[in-house]
């Protein structure tokens, strides 16, 4: 065996208790780091996934970011406009299918129109406020998860019956309606429509399931009193992270405000960045504390081994070999700690993943855990680097010892 490794392993083996304490320190640091990273990033990814799944990547609405440009602004360099009255226009996006065709033409992704309206849902003598979303079922399945959230009946049943409606499972439970029942919808402009419940949807988010219902576009347009208009075009981009760029282009080309999910949740994304910073700071602190343990052990060994170091140097062992011996001792503790820490981290992550989490707002779920090799690599790498540094400083001190001073003192 290599001389350095053989001496280092012998030193480490000879101090079983100290070595175990050091290894436990590193293992705990690595284990908790891995578990924390798995939990934090798992929950973040889960949240983002839910957010991205629940919302369209891009929402095009009938709003405009800036007032329309006036002809005089183009004709003269210095124009100031004050008190300009906004022209009265009907709310909604005109010619939605022409706009959809133009967006689809350059491959922005899947596109679907929708009409958002509020209505009072009347069933068995009870009135309940509900959100009625008019959709195009053939397109809707590509931009939202509605198709997979149908728990009774199917999305296509919207076509099969006149004035069909899909109720959120919570909403149906609240009013006591079932598939096959007939409900009455009273829209904001006072129009009443009788609709047949053809299916139930269940998203898992109570707030959605207890308030939302889905009809064909036409039914929602009648309720909202905006025939031929939609108030939202939703786009699901091939890559969710490209939504911002695509939204800019859509807005430029259509003139309507196109809001990407990234822009809509900018504050949340900033919060995630801060959360990640805190996570890495805590993980770093854990590993730093563990490295102090290693430093302490290697320092103790070098202190105890002063005479051995002197004799090795007097024999002629170069300072670099003496230095390496103690750095390797730090690394041996580090490697053992990292391997055990990985196993510990995996076990703790798995254990956390088994914890069932109940929320009044959502279905019961387990804590989301992300098993990423990167977490293990980072925690292991940082722990090993910390162990090497923790070993290096006592090692440097050991290597700089002048043997004659020790020998003279011992003689």
């Amino acid at each position: 065996m290599n001389l350095v490794l053989s001496i280092a392993l012998t030193h480490v083996r000879a101090r079983v208790r100290q070595t175990i304490v050091g290894v436990i320190g590193v293992a705990t640091g690595v284990g908790f780091s891995v578990m924390m990273a798995a939990l934090m990033e798992g929950s973040q990814n889960d949240f983002v996934t839910q957010l991205v799944d629940a919302l369209p990547h891009i929402s095009v609405t009938d709003q405009r970011r800036d007032p329309p440009r006036q002809p005089s602004q183009d004709a003269y360099d210095a124009v100031e406009i004050r008190g300009l009255s906004t022209p009265v226009t009907r709310p909604g996006i005109k010619n939605p299918y022409a706009i959809i065709a133009s967006i689809e033409a350059w491959g922005a992704g899947a596109v679907a129109p929708s009409v958002q309206s509020r209505a009072v849902l009347r069933f068995a003598g009870r009135d309940t406020a509900a959100s009625v979303i008019g959709v195009d079922p053939r397109r809707e399945i590509y931009v939202s998860k509605l198709g997979t959230q149908i728990v009774s009946g199917s999305l296509d049943d919207l076509y099969k019956t006149s004035n069909a409606i899909i109720l959120g499972s919570g909403l149906a439970r609240k009013i006591g309606a079932r598939v096959g029942n007939s409900v009455t919808l009273v829209g904001g402009v006072g129009r009443a429509v009788s609709a047949n419940v053809v299916a139930l949807s269940h998203s898992g988010v109570n707030q959605i399931d207890e308030t939302q219902s889905y009809t064909l576009l036409k039914t929602a347009q009648i309720l909202a009193g905006q025939t031929g208009l939609v108030n939202e075009i939703r786009i699901k981009t091939p890559d969710a992270m490209e939504a911002r760029d695509i939204a800019l282009r859509v807005e430029r080309e259509t003139g309507y405000k196109a809001l990407s999910w990234l822009e809509a949740n900018e504050d949340l994304m900033s919060a995630f960045q801060i959360r990640n910073f805190i996570m890495f700071a805590v993980v770093g602190a854990i590993l730093l504390v563990a490295s102090f343990g290693t430093y302490n052990i290697i320092s103790t060994i070098t202190h105890e081994k002063t005479r051995d170091i002197a004799i090795m140097k007097s024999i002629g062992l170069p300072a670099k070999i003496v230095r390496r011996i103690f750095v390797v001792e730090g690394l041996v503790i580090g490697v053992l700690g990292v391997v055990i820490g990985w196993a510990l981290g995996f076990a703790m992550s798995w254990g956390m993943g088994q914890v069932e989490f109940k929320s009044p707002f959502m279905d019961a779920t387990r804590l989301p855990i992300l098993y990423s090799p990167l977490h293990y690599a980072i925690a292991g790498g940082v722990a090993l680097a910390a162990s090497a540094v923790a070993g290096y400083f006592p090692a440097r001190k050991a290597a700089s010892l002048r043997p004659v001073e020790i020998i003279r003192g011992a003689s």
Partner: protein
């Protein structure tokens, strides 16, 4: 013939509020096949002289030459390399690595030098231990051996890389009479057996006048200077 070790006017002064002179302008030379004893009262500077001759310490003035090669301008790594390949040390305390067996302790300098295979190192270490009567103790750790046996292992370690000169600082200082006689006989034997090849010498620092009397030559140190031998 080139001396194996030569000191030219070496002085060693320890800096401090009151500088202390350990060795003052000593000229010393030692040829192959010689067994030299350095004697003197406690604090006379004999161990300090040995450390200077063994390149463990650096003279404040003067120069030490090993096998004709000046050492003044060598850095610590080069001095260590010279100690490893050309010098062997035996101290009053055995200074063996406590966690390692006698074999492993003897193999240590060979492994550091890295010129032999593992099998060759094992073979040579065992042969040296066997020649010193330690074959049965080769795999024992120092705490499983007597003081005399440990000191013989230390001698074996000093021989590991076949050095030109063995420097011993009070090697019998902690031993009983029987063990002292054994150690002395071994050292005498090392010089005598290498006389034909003319390539080994031993310099020994001792209080033991009987031991000094068995050396080929005796150098007496008083107050850091070579003095006339008193008897």
């Amino acid at each position: 013939m080139t001396p194996l070790i030569e000191a030219r006017g070496i002085t060693r002064i320890i800096d401090g509020v009151t500088p202390t002179t350990l060795v003052a302008g000593i000229d010393f030379s030692m040829a192959a096949g010689e067994f030299v004893a350095i004697t003197g009262p406690s604090g006379s500077g004999k161990s300090s002289l040995l450390y200077l001759l063994g390149l463990l310490d650096i003279p404040t003035q003067g120069e030490v030459l090993v096998n004709g090669r000046p050492t003044r301008d060598l850095d610590e790594e080069a001095r260590a390399a010279m100690r490893l390949s050309q010098l062997g040390f035996v101290f009053q305390f055995h200074f063996l690595l406590p966690e390692f067996s006698a074999m492993e302790n003897v193999m240590l300098p060979m492994r550091a030098l890295g010129k032999r295979s593992e099998a060759q190192m094992r073979k040579r270490a065992f042969e040296i231990l066997d020649s010193l009567g330690l074959a049965d103790h080769a795999f024992k750790r120092p705490d499983q051996m007597s003081g005399g046996q440990r000191q013989r292992v230390a001698i074996a370690r000093s021989l590991a890389n076949d050095p030109l000169v063995i420097l011993a600082d009070e090697p019998t200082g902690n031993l009983d009479t029987h063990s002292s006689a054994q150690v002395l006989a071994i050292m005498r034997g090392i010089v005598d057996s290498s006389r034909d090849s003319d390539r080994k010498a031993i310099v020994i620092v001792t209080h033991d006048l009987d031991l000094a009397a068995k050396a080929d030559r005796r150098v007496h140190i008083v107050d850091g200077k070579i003095a006339a031998t008193p008897y």
